[in-house]
Subunit: 210 residues, 2 copies
Amino acid sequence: MTILSGERPGEGNMKEERYEIRFGGSGGQGIILAAIIMAEAAGLYEGYHVCQTQSYGPEARGGKSRAELVISNMEIDYPKVIRMDLFLAMNQAALDAYFFDFKPDGVLLADATFVEQVPTSRSLLLPFTRIARAQLGNEIVANIVALGAVGVLCRKVSMQSLEKAVAGKVPAKFRELNMAALRAGAEAAAGVDLSFLPRSIISEEEEKEV
Amino acid sequence: MTILSGERPGEGNMKEERYEIRFGGSGGQGIILAAIIMAEAAGLYEGYHVCQTQSYGPEARGGKSRAELVISNMEIDYPKVIRMDLFLAMNQAALDAYFFDFKPDGVLLADATFVEQVPTSRSLLLPFTRIARAQLGNEIVANIVALGAVGVLCRKVSMQSLEKAVAGKVPAKFRELNMAALRAGAEAAAGVDLSFLPRSIISEEEEKEV
């Protein structure tokens, strides 16, 4: 088991540090559950302020679903994503639809099982669904495999906090399966050094607005 | 089965109509799931713009949980509750903690099983957990019983939309139990005429701000 050292909220004179994650996938891929578990890990067990949202409307037709999570060391004024630090895309349609508001040093984490084209060089493709199928015998936990990778990459939550949050959200008889999925995802992401990713090429003007 | 006639989003020159619901309960009472199902019923099946949020932070310690839902005929700028039209409180602690931002003509819907004191005369107490236990043999669906009542009272979603949303969120083997819970809650609320509730007494100044 990997223990991650999260940056916890400090005391005293604090500067606001927002960390923003968007989760995109199709209806059945468990994106909202993944976002909720991540929110509970960061909010209940790491002591961050957290706001987790999902929107439905005309754009939700056709099976795409999106959830968002803002993690902050201070109370959150605006609860939706302003600039993504991390975008988890579980398939190509969701990636294409929700790839906006991306930070120059953001990271796109995509399920290589269903994503072929990535719009940024700051991408990390890991085969979440294939891992779920091959290592765990059940595609249904692909979202939890992805969550393990999100947990490692965002560096805001320990694996212990994620495990507690997962345990609180899945039925007891599926607990072991989900724990194994979480660990498989964390292991897939553990060896990745994001500092090797090139910085996104964006116009100077756009960058100044950031 | 009750079919409700929802007010659907119109065409042409629209005035923004926000309808805001807060759900409060303890950790295990399934408040977030109820909010998500209601969001899907209104957003996916009734064509409203919907934004559903939950926040975690220092106030979430101690087992209280809160979820919010904004339903609008137009795109939603601010995704959290500004003034509650409807507040579902599943127990006394959540009611006490989250009773604020209440509209003068809002409605407090509380689980009479666990709530004894209500801070407004615009209250409707229905024993959701007792109904779940007595009629359905399982307290775990108290949240879905409550959701049935929320669906009837808010008049934004048809029972058919709620049933579709429930079916999409619960495992197949518990579908019938949840459908029965939804109907039991809808029936408990069906006979209630909210127009008999007195208007909340609030100061003139506060009312002007609304």
